[in-house]
């Protein structure tokens, strides 16, 4: 792989194809180098890396625990003791943001992993087989898409006691629809490609044509939509938590921290209380969107440099 020439045979072919004498670029390399040329995407990646690392290493970065209350230290402004101030129970906001990040990101990643997996499986089966199978699966998707999700979420969360696991189930239940449609569309165009026919003439079974021949070719759009989807889920989780239906206190999440701060007097007296969790949501979602856009451009062969 490392050395250039795989030229072996007739020198005519080597001459006719100058590419062979160039340094090889794997597709992965091309995509990575295109991605890193996109400044916004790189900024997003840097921010996100910092956020993820600090969430993971939260215990090392702060002397407090997220649930530790101290009524004497209520609503303290940012200082060297409390970097981002304290909340109405005297809990350190910086600490809660770090631990809240763990929850928000975890919910985001697990939900997207689950929904992309289901969406990819359903979408690829529908798109590959077409016909009646496609019709049935896509009508199910259409029906679920017609459900007013936010209200259903609220209803479900009120019926079942809210919790991280239930939130993830619900996100997965409604999250796979978009991916399914996307993957199906990719499959519809990929399955008519010659390499698929050629694999079929070699007696490759449907299952491996779907998962090892076509799916890797559809990976670009799937990764892009998953990246953008994490941002969306973090927002929805924040919205639900803000309504008091998401992550339940005292477990911190960025959304329920905002809800804690929604009191008018608090907002006036302690600006830092709602500002920092809000800012975290903003930065994280923005980072995901920038990365998603960057990946989309990087995967798109029509966009060069």
């Amino acid at each position: 792989m490392t050395k250039i020439n795989t030229v072996n045979e007739s020198s005519t072919e080597a001459l006719l194809n100058p590419n062979l004498n160039r340094k090889p670029d794997t597709m992965f390399k091309i995509i990575v180098s295109k991605f890193f040329k996109n400044k916004l995407a790189v900024i997003g990646l840097i921010f996100l890396t910092i956020i993820i690392l600090s969430a993971i290493f939260a215990p090392l970065l702060t002397p407090y625990t997220p649930e530790e209350q101290s009524l004497r230290d209520r609503l303290l402004p940012p200082s060297s003791d409390h970097l981002l101030g304290t909340d109405k129970f005297g809990r350190d906001i910086f600490t809660r943001i770090l631990y809240g990040g763990q929850i928000s990101l975890l919910v985001g990643f697990i939900s997207i992993l689950g929904s992309v997996t289901i969406g990819a499986i359903v979408g690829s089966i529908a798109g590959y087989f077409g016909g009646i199978i496609d019709s049935i699966l896509m009508r199910i998707v259409d029906t679920l898409l017609a459900v007013p999700t936010l209200f259903l979420l609220i209803t479900l969360v009120t019926i079942f006691t809210p919790g991280i696991d239930k939130l993830i189930y619900i996100f997965i239940l409604f999250g796979w629809l978009g991916t399914a449609r996307l993957v199906r569309a990719e499959f519809l165009s990929l399955r008519t490609r010659e390499f698929v026919l050629s694999a079929r003439t070699m007696g490759v079974k449907n299952r491996s044509i779907i998962f090892s021949h076509i799916l890797p070719n559809a990976m670009g759009p799937i990764i892009v939509s998953a990246t953008l989807g994490v941002g969306g889920i973090i927002l929805t989780e924040a919205a639900l938590s803000y309504l008091g239906l998401g992550i339940q206190p005292p477990i911190p999440s960025w959304g329920n921290m905002l809800q804690d701060a929604q009191n008018y007097t608090i907002m006036l007296k302690a600006w830092w209380y709602p500002t920092f969790p809000g800012l975290m949501i903003l930065i994280t979602v923005l980072s995901f969107n920038f990365i998603g856009d960057g990946l989309r451009d990087a995967f798109d062969p029509k966009i060069n440099e």
């Binding site: 062979l20 090889p24 390499f195 070699m202 021949h213």
Partner: protein, 326 residues
């Protein structure tokens, strides 16, 4: 005949259904391929050559296409009646296929090695390691000297000719008895064309593989084929040995095809061409399908469809010769 038939297609009809319209892409096709023989299937674009080959593979594009009638006898079995699972075992193992576009017939995201070993593991039940070893042998067989390095390469790193070699290596990996080559050299430049044809011919001799060569290039036909079948509008119009076709083509359509190829011996100003185009299947004439374009057509031609008639070792579908016989 000494050689026994390997594949026998009888009265094959592959139709496409579009809304309420029926499009007979292949309409009563007969074809016999003997062991070790190279048969060329020629005809203009749209004459049903590729659909015939896809029908043999049972890979007619669906929904839309369907094999409505006929028999495809292979190894004592009718391929049209066996289960899909049995058919999967036959594809690649007994009958394999290579395509026109070497640039698009390899999966861009899988390495050459992955794509060769896959078939070996599926059909020959080889282990990953044995399959890799065999893949190297196969690549060497089709002319790569740095076979090991190629294994980890992606298709976009290879030239068209090299990719077609890889396709041939994949197609030959399980020693199939029949190789269907659908215009294997059309997309390659002339020097590479000759190399690929030589390679196919060599392998066919070495492994006693029959080849069904689909092409519209009569030069290719004269070079490699033993027998030629000329197709027009989904039907066979003439079938004969390769020498007979070039020396003495009987059907006016075949004559037209041959005359439209420049020859070194004759010095002419203008090449002949066949007037008009292949009619689309919904505009097939009632009589002989070639009649509207045929320079020798007479009254009967546009009224009745001639049958495929055997004359000695050849077959011909034309009233000109039916008259002679009677």
């Amino acid at each position: 005949m000494l050689m026994s038939a390997l594949l026998e297609v009888k009265n094959l009809k592959t139709h496409f259904f579009k809304k309420k319209q029926v499009i007979p892409a292949v309409d009563g096709m007969d074809l016999t391929i003997k062991k070790g023989e190279t048969v060329a299937l020629v005809g203009e674009s749209g004459s049903g050559k590729s659909m015939t080959s896809l029908s043999i593979m049972r890979l007619v594009p669906s929904p839309g296409g369907k094999i409505v009638d006929g028999q495809i006898m292979y190894d004592g079995k009718d391929l049209l009646t066996i289960s899909e699972n049995d058919m999967v075992d036959i594809r690649g193992n007994d009958i394999s296929m290579i395509f026109q576009e070497p640039m698009t017939s390899l999966n861009p995201v899988l390495t050459i090695g992955d794509q060769i070993t896959e078939t070996l593991i599926a059909h020959q039940k080889l282990s990953q390691r044995e399959a890799k070893k065999r893949a190297v042998e196969l690549l060497e067989m089709v002319g790569f000297s740095r076979a090991k390095a190629i294994l980890n390469d992606y298709p976009h790193r290879l030239s068209g000719g090299m990719r077609q070699r890889v396709m041939i290596a994949i197609a030959m990996s399980c020693n199939p008895k029949l190789l269907i080559a659908d215009e294997p050299t059309t997309a390659l430049d002339v020097t590479i064309q000759a190399q690929i044809l030589d390679l196919m011919k060599d392998l066919s001799n070495k492994f006693d593989t029959s080849i069904l060569l689909i092409t519209h290039d009569l030069g290719v036909v004269s070079e490699v084929a033993d027998r030629v079948i000329v197709m027009y509008c989904g039907q066979v119009v003439e079938e004969s040995s390769v020498n007979d076709i070039f020396e003495n083509a009987l059907h006016p359509y075949t004559q037209g095809l041959i005359n439209s190829v420049p020859s070194i011996d004759d010095d002419i100003d203008r090449l002949e061409s066949i007037e008009g185009n292949v009619p689309t299947p919904d505009q097939f004439p009632t009589g002989c399908r070639f009649a509207p374009r045929c320079p020798k057509a007479f009254d009967k031609c546009s009224l009745h469809m001639p049958t495929l008639k055997k004359i000695d070792e050849r077959s011909i579908r034309c009233f000109l010769y039916e008259e002679e016989q009677s």
